[in-house]
Symmetry: C2
Subunit: 306 residues, 2 copies
């Protein structure tokens, strides 16, 4: 079992109604890797700048994440994102994005990263995703995330990338936007017609829905009284979902395994949003993951008719 | 066991991307009563005009609904609503509302309707809801729905009405709006502090969440490939939820009973949206309800860790 993730490694400056942080560690690859590290061995591929401290990688390594393929670009600047959320945390605003070393990123995977059975292509330029997919052509379960920017500006490349993976993990609004089909179940079927056999539609605080050719599955988000910062929740979900599948070597997962993976994704995302950035997941324990998994069952399960 | 519902009995003219209907039977009391009729004896209280045909009541009676307290106002016009939905069915627009006989409605409950153990106050003016509640003061489980209009124009009366019921069933946006608390779990707790011991937040296609002083519960909506008309889905949910509770005489329901009720609410709402107005639920069978209840379990349940 081994899982390779390629995506952004970033500094995030975030303001929510519950506080603010300057230049904390973030990025899709970081949130994903932390979440997946509870289930399997994870390798991170991505560039950082000269402003990136070794202590940040240390935090990932402490969770067992392999950072050999994190490429330090001399004189470069690490990807930077500044954003804020409204009182309704579902509404996010981007105030500043500086691509930095990501502008000229050309992924070079080590032999170990290429050998992964599971590959996650975080939300980056679709052509980059395709080049990583080509290098990692032995992966038995490849998944990708994307965003509205690429649907608008690189649609053909994104569709080509989707054709080359087994699983897409997108926000439900993006699934609808990409297919121009407002019914989510129909839209997911259209994505499967392109190639993937698994479609996960993330729905923010409302949870996530899973579609395969055999059927549907859905979970609500875990209900929390304290949500401080939603940044990275979608990547934490993907990390829990794919990390679990890789951890039990389920490269062609059956329905029951996918359902458990959905639950682990939901659990990891729920911890992510409790504090800023990676703060909560950094000190998360496997016991807490197990406990919340049980709580999520209690939150969603109901008896057969009396 | 007996359940009384007061609310609108209406003619709805509805247009969605999947078709249109002129002056079909609708209204909160109608959708609620049809759904609840699968579980218990239902009495409908509300006014209709001279334009209201007996064949409409016949459809309710065929489902066992008692229409004795449907008050026909000579020369009056039945409540009329015209609206349309965007391609994204979550976005509804009201084009015309004519209160008709509802403008001067003064509820007069028969002795039988007053004797109900469960009472549902559909979305009408909060002072009217309070007067019905006062007439039906023996009800052991009273619930109400409301809407943004009353939160904006009759807030004090609505809060007074909420103080007098055991259960509120509102859209999640309305729960947040009423409490001015963006976190749904906290907002639900604030509503419970007013008086009710059960808060249900309806979330449209995303399902519903339940809050009591003891804990949380949530279900996603049933995933459907064909959704034609969401009108009445919330009232169908409430009808399934409260109808089930009344049907098993659960006037102080425990957690497991509430969870089953949430599932039946979800099931009835899912049938409601498959066709226009009451078309689907009119010909629904108890066997179909049972089957979808099982499908909803399969859609949401996952194993304990392997």
């Amino acid at each position: 079992m081994a899982l390779t993730v390629v995506g952004s490694i970033a500094f995030d400056s975030v303001r929510t109604p519950f506080g603010a942080r300057e230049r904390m560690l973030g990025g899709s690859a970081v949130h994903f890797a932390l979440a997946a590290s509870f289930f399997t061995e994870v390798r991170v591929v991505g560039p950082v700048g000269a402003d990136f401290g070794d202590e940040h990688l240390e935090m990932l390594r402490a969770r067992g994440v392999d950072t050999t393929d994190v490429e330090r670009v001399p004189g470069g600047e690490t990807f930077f994102w500044r954003g804020h959320y409204e009182v309704d945390l579902n509404v996010a605003h981007t105030d500043e994005t500086r691509l930095g070393v990501f502008a000229d990123f050309e992924p070079k995977l080590s032999e170990e990263s290429r050998a992964a059975e599971v590959l996650f292509l975080g939300n980056i330029q679709p052509e980059l995703q395709r080049r990583v997919r080509a290098q990692c052509n032995g992966a038995r379960l490849a998944a990708l995330d994307s965003m509205n920017l690429w649907i608008e500006t690189a649609r053909d490349a994104l569709v080509a990338a989707i054709r080359e993976v087994d699983c897409v993990i997108l926000n439900d609004a993006e699934v609808r936007m990409l297919t121009e089909e407002p019914n989510l179940a129909k839209a997911a079927r259209e994505l499967m017609d392109i190639g993937p056999r698994i479609v996960v539609a993330k729905r923010g605080e409302y949870g996530a829905a899973l579609f395969t050719r055999e059927g549907f599955f859905a979970l609500p988000g875990f209900l929390l009284e304290d949500v401080r910062d939603p940044t990275g929740a979608g990547d934490s979900f993907a990390g829990g979902f794919l990390g679990y599948l890789d951890g039990c070597a389920a490269f062609e997962p059956d329905a029951r395994t996918l359902q458990r993976a959905m639950a682990y994704g939901t659990v990891l995302a729920s911890f992510n949003v409790e504090e800023f950035g990676t703060e909560r997941v950094e000190r998360l324990t496997p016991e807490e993951v197990s406990q919340r998994y049980g709580e999520l069952r209690a939150l969603t399960h109901f008896d057969a008719p009396a």
